[in-house]
């Protein structure tokens, strides 16, 4: 977090006009690619993330295979022009390597991997435009792409970040709030099972603020969950028309 903190909340409103507990506008589309077994695009504010899933399929290289379960492979990646500022180098950054793991581990608890021994389920998360919340949008999109691919899951996984900005706990940080805020806490959960599958905190919170932030995140996750289900229903209805 940087030192110079611009005023990000004025008269109880954030710079983009939202109240602290508001999500940004969300647009979800499922089944956007022809070749992938499953795919989805999630837009939340100016953040736009594409997720694609292949599998269960044969494991290459073979030595990665596990005899009792499907392996999950996941890559999170930012396209070179997706970020503000200079062109991002296409070489995987340490951040991208970490987030690929974090996203995989956010999804693993939901996937019924033991139904598909000796196979791989590949998840590709491509960030098309980054304006805060790309990992959480990526998880939300990837879980839909898994559903679109027909992979059995205990529940969808939905995700959103909460944070602390000018001393206020707020939902769904955008890039400016993430950069100049005091804390950023991305959370993922299987909403109907109340299981938290991802939790990170960058920044400092008191124990009380942490509890408050976690509650707000779960509330936001429930709202996103409804949109996920709508999007799947929409695709199903369209397909069966």
């Amino acid at each position: 977090m940087k030192r110079e903190k611009p005023q990000l909340i004025i008269n109880g409103r954030r710079l983009d006009g939202r109240a602290p507990q508001d999500l940004r506008p969300i647009k979800i589309e499922v089944g956007v690619l022809k070749n992938a077994d499953g795919s989805a695009i999630v837009e939340i504010g100016n953040t736009k993330v594409l997720a694609a899933v292949y599998g269960p399929r044969e494991v290459v290289p073979k030595h990665q295979e596990q005899i009792d379960r499907a392996i999950i492979r996941c890559r999170y990646r930012m396209l070179s022009f997706s970020t503000p500022g200079e062109r991002k180098s296409p070489a995987p950054s340490r951040r991208e390597i970490e987030l690929s793991k974090v996203i995989r581990e956010a999804l693993e608890p939901a996937i019924l991997s033991y139904q598909f021994p000796r196979t791989a389920i590949d998840i590709y998360v491509e960030v098309i435009n980054a304006d805060g919340g790309t990992r959480t949008a990526g998880i939300t999109a990837a879980s839909l792409a898994l559903a679109d691919a027909g992979i059995p899951m205990l529940d969808l996984v939905a995700a959103v970040a909460v944070g602390k900005v000018n001393g206020v706990i707020v939902l769904d940080l955008n890039e400016v709030e993430d950069m100049y805020g005091e804390a950023d806490m991305p959370v993922a959960a299987m909403p109907s099972l109340k299981r938290i599958t991802m939790l990170q905190l960058n920044g400092v919170l008191t124990p009380d603020e942490f509890r408050q932030a976690l509650a707000l995140a779960l509330d936001g996750i429930n709202r996103i969950y409804q949109l996920q289900k709508d999007a799947l229903r929409r695709k199903y209805v369209e397909a069966s028309e």
Binding site: A36, P84, N129
Partner: protein, 275 residues
């Protein structure tokens, strides 16, 4: 090492069916052999890019985006801006693409697009010097193949051309004392200076049949292809033969004819979308 790729296995029944349709002058989706699929353009898909465009050519999807930076010119062209083209086959785009740095196919694609822009001087690089010999505009053009349903070069070239044609240069201020240059991306006025439009037309060969814009299924049956970059003026601004097969000398008249006529068509289309 460049290695012979695995040949996709196409069942004989299907192969015969496709050949049968082709021999009657049609693609498997019922288009005539020399017509492109429906082209859909979505502009500004990545607002953080200085220019971006999504091209859908049938089910093929290509995302082209540009980042502008200020950098140093190449020593042998000190007064010109720099254009750098990269391409990547995103693993989402096909079950056969793998994650990792661009392979020879992606590198070849990028270099064919690069030459098709560079040789006919599409971008007026000579107008992109800021401080001649020291500071020039650097255009990073990145092409991502998102969904592969055939004919990636032509789709990529449409994306590249549109991303360039849409690009507006941001305002810059040169501090007269320090010489530091600041870009103000909130202010964009001047369109990128272009000399001309160019499109590529790739002619594929399946058995003895020549055709354009195959689907992935058809493309898998092609033994060779030849890409010609066609300029607004009706010249040939680049050629690349690809594939395990060959062309016969006598086929070239037809190839040139097709390329010139379809190239003209594509350029018209690109110009319409530019407005």
């Amino acid at each position: 090492m460049s290695v012979t790729p695995e040949t996709p296995i196409i069942p004989k029944v299907k192969r015969d069916a496709i050949l049968n349709v082709l021999s009657k002058g049609f693609h498997i989706d019922k288009r005539p052999l020399y017509s492109y699929r429906n082209i859909e353009i979505v502009k500004n898909v990545a607002p953080n890019a200085d220019s971006s465009v999504l091209v859908k050519l049938g089910h093929t999807q290509v995302l082209a985006g540009i980042k502008l930076e200020i950098g140093q010119p190449f020593p042998d062209n000190p007064d010109e801006g720099v254009l750098i083209v990269n391409a990547e086959y995103v693993p989402a785009a096909s079950p056969s693409f793998e994650p990792g740095p661009p392979d020879e196919n992606a590198i070849e694609l990028a270099r064919v697009i690069d030459r098709s822009l560079r040789e006919p001087r599409v971008v007026a690089l000579d107008k992109l010097a800021i401080i001649p010999g020291k500071k020039v505009w650097v255009i990073w053009l990145d092409i991502y193949i998102l969904d592969h349903d055939g004919n990636l070069v032509d789709a990529s070239m449409i994306g590249a051309m549109l991303a360039l044609a849409q690009l507006k240069l941001p305002r810059i201020d040169v501090d007269p004392n320090t010489g530091e240059i600041k870009i103000d991306k909130s202010q964009r006025e001047t369109p990128l200076p272009l000399n001309r439009y160019v499109a590529t037309v790739t002619v594929y060969k399946i058995e003895d049949i020549l055709l354009i814009d195959p689907t992935a299924e058809e493309e898998a049956m092609a033994t060779a292809s030849i890409t010609m970059a066609i300029t607004e003026e009706g010249n040939i601004g680049g050629i690349q033969k690809r594939g395990l097969g060959y062309f016969e000398e006598k086929e070239f008249d037809r190839i040139v004819e097709i390329s010139l006529s379809k190239g003209k068509e594509l350029i018209e289309l690109i110009k319409q979308y530019t407005k």
